[in-house]
C-alpha cells in the first residue's frame, strides 16, 4: 500500500501554488520517529492529513496518549518543511479516530524488521516471528518494552531477545 492510499483524507491531489500533497508526503518521509529512527512518520501512519494552499497543514495523531515524542515530531516536521522552503505551515494534533498499527505501511514493516524489531501482525497478533532468524518459536518476556508501542520477546531458536511492535 502506498502512503497516499493509506491515508484517510487527501484534500487535493492537484498542485496548488505549484505544491502538491504528494510533494509534502515525500518531504514528510524524511521525518523519522525520534524513538525508532528507522521508520518515517508517514510509514508509521501518524500523518493523517496534509493540505496545501496558502499554508501547508499537516495533521498528526499520537500513537499512545503519553507518547513523549509528539512535541519532537511536531518540531521536526516544521524544521524539515522549512528546510525545503515551506515556512508557512501548521501542524495540528487530532485524537480521533485513534491511531492503530493497521495504518503502518508495508514499507514501514519491512524497515522495522530489518532494524531488528518484529513488526505488528494484525492478522494473527499472537504469531510473533524472530526478526533475526525468522523462527516462529518465540516467547513474550514482558508485555511492556523500551517504548509504549513495544513488548519484549525472546527467540527460542537463536536465543536473541528482541522488541515486538505490538498490535494496537
Amino acid at each position: 500500500m502506498s502512503p497516499l492510499e493509506n491515508h484517510t483524507e487527501i484534500t487535493s491531489l492537484e498542485p496548488i501554488n505549484g505544491v502538491s500533497v504528494a510533494d509534502i508526503y515525500e518531504i514528510l518521509q524524511e521525518v523519522k520517529d525520534p524513538e525508532i529512527p528507522v521508520i518515517s512518520i508517514v510509514d508509521l501512519g501518524i500523518v493523517r492529513k496534509v493540505s496545501v494552499g496558502n499554508k501547508i497543514e499537516v495533521v498528526i495523531t499520537p500513537t499512545y496518549s503519553g507518547c513523549p515524542a509528539m512535541l519532537e515530531i511536531e518540531k521536526n516536521i516544521r524544521k524539515r518543511l522549512s528546510m525545503e522552503g515551506y515556512d508557512q505551515c501548521k501542524v495540528l494534533t487530532e485524537l480521533s479516530p485513534p491511531w492503530t498499527t493497521e495504518w503502518m505501511t508495508e514499507n514501514g514493516k519491512k524497515l522495522l524488521q530489518a532494524y531488528g524489531i518484529a513488526p505488528p501482525n494484525p492478522k494473527s497478533p499472537n504469531e510473533v516471528n524472530c526478526p533475526h532468524c525468522k523462527s516462529k518459536k518465540t516467547t513474550m518476556i514482558s508485555q511492556f518494552g523500551s517504548t509504549a508501542c513495544k513488548a519484549l520477546y525472546k527467540c527460542e531458536e537463536c536465543l536473541e531477545p528482541f522488541d515486538y511492535f505490538k498490535c494496537h
Partner: protein, 250 residues
C-alpha cells in the same frame, strides 16, 4: 459551559494524574527490570490520558487556565480523584492490586464512554480504552500470579486486599457530576458498569484463590474533594517546583 461537565472532566483527569504520579515513583525500584518498565509505561499512559482530560477541562472552564495550571496549582480539596488512586504504593502486591481495582473499572468505563454524546469525551475514551485493555491484562495476570503464587506473595496479596478493599467501590458510586453526566448523555450508567466490573473482579480473584472481604465498609469522598491524608503529600512533592518558582519552564 456547565460546572458538572468541568467537575466530571476533572474527576477523570485527577484519577489519571494521581495514579500516574504514584506509579512513576516506582521508576528504578521495580522488583525486576521488566516490571519496573511496565509500571513506568503504565504511568506514562496515565499521565498522557490526564493531559487529554486537563486540556479539555481547561477549555470547558474557559478562564484561561492551562492544563499545567490545573495539575500544579490546585490544592488537595480541589482535586476530584477517588481515594483509591492516592493510596500509597506499599509493596509490589499493594501497587498491583490498586492498579487492578482501577483498571477493572477504567477499561469498562472507557468502553461505555465511547458512546458519549460529547465528541471530545468520546475521542479521549477511544484513545484511552485501547491502553486500559492492555493495563487490565497486565494487572489481572499479576493478581493471579501473586495470589496463587508463593506463601509470601499470597500473604502480601491478602494484606493488600484487606487494606485496599474499602476503596474499591468509590469508582462506581455516582457523584453528583456522574449523575448529571449520565442524564445529559455525555457520561455513563455506572450501575451497568458495576455489573461487568464485579464479574471481572470475581473471576480474577477466584483464579487468584483470594477471598473478597464481605464486611468491607466503603470509603468515599474523593469525588467531592474530601481526601485521605496521603493526597497532600503527593501534591507537595509533585507541585513543589511550580509553587516555589511560579511559571518555571524546561
Amino acid at each position: 459551559m456547565s460546572n458538572s461537565l468541568l467537575q466530571y472532566t476533572l474527576q477523570q483527569a485527577d484519577n489519571c494524574l494521581i495514579l500516574g504520579q504514584r506509579l512513576a515513583a516506582w521508576c528504578g525500584h521495580g522488583p525486576i527490570l521488566e516490571q519496573d518498565i511496565a509500571l513506568t509505561n503504565i504511568s506514562l499512559d496515565q499521565i498522557g490520558q490526564a493531559r487529554l482530560w486537563y486540556q479539555y477541562a481547561a477549555e470547558v472552564e474557559g478562564k484561561g487556565r492551562s492544563e499545567d495550571d490545573l495539575a500544579y496549582l490546585r490544592d488537595a480539596w480541589q482535586f476530584r480523584n477517588v481515594l483509591l488512586v492516592e493510596q500509597p504504593n506499599g509493596d509490589f502486591a499493594q501497587t498491583i492490586l490498586r492498579q487492578f481495582l482501577f483498571d477493572s473499572f477504567s477499561c469498562y468505563f472507557y468502553e461505555a464512554l465511547l458512546e458519549s454524546a460529547n465528541d471530545q469525551i468520546a475521542a479521549i475514551a477511544a484513545k484511552s480504552h485501547k491502553e486500559a485493555i492492555y493495563h487490565l491484562k497486565w494487572s489481572s495476570d499479576w493478581v493471579i500470579r501473586l495470589g496463587d503464587g508463593t506463601e509470601e506473595s499470597r500473604k502480601r496479596m491478602m494484606k493488600a486486599v484487606g487494606f485496599l478493599w474499602p476503596y474499591s467501590n468509590e469508582l462506581i458510586l455516582g457523584s453528583e457530576a456522574d449523575l448529571q453526566a449520565q442524564k445529559e448523555g455525555y457520561g455513563v450508567n455506572l450501575s451497568q458498569i458495576r455489573k461487568i466490573r464485579d464479574d471481572k473482579i470475581n473471576q480474577v480473584m477466584q483464579e487468584a484463590t483470594l477471598d473478597i472481604p464481605i464486611d468491607s465498609h466503603d470509603q468515599v469522598g474523593g469525588k467531592i474533594g474530601r481526601h485521605s491524608e496521603h493526597l497532600g503529600y503527593i501534591l507537595a512533592e509533585m507541585q513543589f517546583l511550580q509553587r516555589a518558582y511560579p511559571g518555571l519552564d524546561w
